[in-house]
């Protein structure tokens, strides 16, 4: 009996639709800080109300990730993506209409967090894993991550223009319409029934989780991703304050954030390309080590606008460049059957690291009167992540052959 190769979507279709969805999904959320002033002034809320909702959003993004991934693996990514887009639009509309802190936390925090889990990397990467040839998988993940980075970069000025021209509430309604534009692209990711997943190693969700969490390489990747989240959010949230304390003008911080956004696009793409040709554990180790070195140079050399721009450009190149290799290694080790769910768990660790970076940065600032301690913690964690990625085994896990039916 001859077995026909499983039908697959075209790579161009997967890349265009996946990139479009991630561009919108990552882009809209990136400019939420622009709504802080108009919303808090209009509603008479404290900044804590706004900040709390965004903290909840990040937490729910991480917590809902494994669930959204598991549903995508089980019922198909298209259903999860459509559900995520509807949640996204609904969350934005309710965010615009919320008149109490509780309603704002429920919409901007919980709903949008869940929506992001259903429309970002873990779900899209599951489709890429199943539909793109392994020889091009890392590159394809790099292209998609670069699209998400471009969305982040693009949407801040767009949202700023929308708020300035149409008012903050209408700007949210426009973004809700934009979120619904993800739906047609989701249909482009409807997978044929007979894909690799259906012929892959049969394994229950529980067995897949037990296998992954008992596997040292998965533990190491997860721990490394915690460091990624810690460093990025600490820098994104606290660097402007650090620059202000150091007497630099606000324009320097703004330009630095723009440079991070710009170089992030190239960094994520290059990481995908390099990961195709180079062992991903070495790539990840290099990224974390380079981050640590960049931070050491930044905090030890004299602080000038140009040192800030150089640091921002270097960190931009290394910003989301961990995303393609980390997810590609998960697919390489465990296969693609439960890839979205496992990626969701790795991303949960990233979000816990993000929470730690944002919170610890502020907590230690209050206790020590500066950011020096946290910068050095970020360096130590970078070296730690560089070391623990070295022993990661990228080869497929060896399993017992399934019993004949």
């Amino acid at each position: 009996m001859s077995s026909k190769p499983a039908a697959r979507l075209s790579m161009t279709q997967v890349l265009v639709c996946g990139a479009a969805i991630v561009t919108v999904s990552m882009g809209i959320r990136h400019g939420f800080g622009l709504w802080l002033t108009p919303i808090t002034m209009d509603r008479g809320w404290t900044r804590e109300t706004f900040a709390f909702a965004l903290a909840i959003q990040n937490l729910f993004w991480g917590l809902a990730g494994p669930l959204a991934g598991g549903l995508a693996d089980r019922f198909g990514a298209v259903k999860v993506l459509i559900g995520g887009a509807v949640f996204y639009a609904g969350g934005l509309v309710l965010m615009a209409l919320a008149t109490s802190g509780l309603a704002f936390t429920g919409s901007a925090g919980m709903l949008l967090g869940i929506a992001q889990a259903g429309t970002t990397y873990a779900v899209i990467y599951g489709v890429i894993g199943r539909q793109v040839d392994p020889a091009k998988r890392s590159w394809a993940m790099g292209v998609t991550a670069a699209a998400g980075s471009f969305g982040q970069f693009l949407m801040v000025p767009v949202e700023n223009w929308l708020i300035g021209s149409w008012g903050w509430q209408n700007a949210l309604f426009v973004c809700a319409c934009l979120a619904l534009a993800m739906v047609p692209f989701a249909f482009g990711l409807k997978e044929p029934k007979a894909t690799e997943a259906s012929t892959a190693y049969p394994q229950s969700i529980g067995a897949a989780l037990r296998e992954a969490f008992a596997y040292p390489s998965f533990q190491l990747l997860t721990a490394g991703y915690f460091v990624c989240g810690f460093q990025l959010v600490f820098i994104g949230v606290h660097m402007p304050s650090y620059l202000k304390d150091s007497g630099l003008s606000p324009d320097v911080a703004t330009t630095a954030l723009a440079l991070i956004g710009l170089f992030n696009i190239f960094g994520t793409y290059v990481a995908g390309v390099v990961g195709q040709h180079w062992p991903k554990r070495y790539l990840l180790s290099s990224i974390y080590l380079l981050r640590a070195l960049a931070i050491v140079a930044f905090v030890t050399l004299p602080l000038t606008p140009w040192s800030v721009y150089c640091f921002a450009s270097a960190m931009g190149l290394l910003w989301l460049s961990t995303v393609p290799p980390t997810n590609a290694v998960v697919a390489q080790i465990f296969g693609v059957r439960h890839m979205s769910m496992l990626s969701g768990f790795v991303f949960l660790s990233h979000q816990l690291g993000s929470f730690a970076g944002a919170w610890l940065g502020g907590w230690l600032y209050d206790r020590t009167g500066g950011y020096t301690v946290v910068w050095w913690i970020a360096v130590a964690l970078g070296v730690f992540a560089a070391l623990i990625n070295l022993p990661v085994r990228e080869t497929p896990i060896v399993r017992a052959a399934p019993a004949p039916a």
Binding site: G33, L36, P157, N160, A253, L262
Partner: protein, 39 residues
Amino acid sequence: MGRRIVWWTGALAACALVFAAYLRPDMLFTLATAVWNCF
């Protein structure tokens, strides 16, 4: 090869346009205000 050059030119032009949007004085002011308002 020709298609690749067109893709890369388009991508670089889009990035340059967006970066230029960040550097407009009104954008710098708004973002700087938004950034400092967080602290």
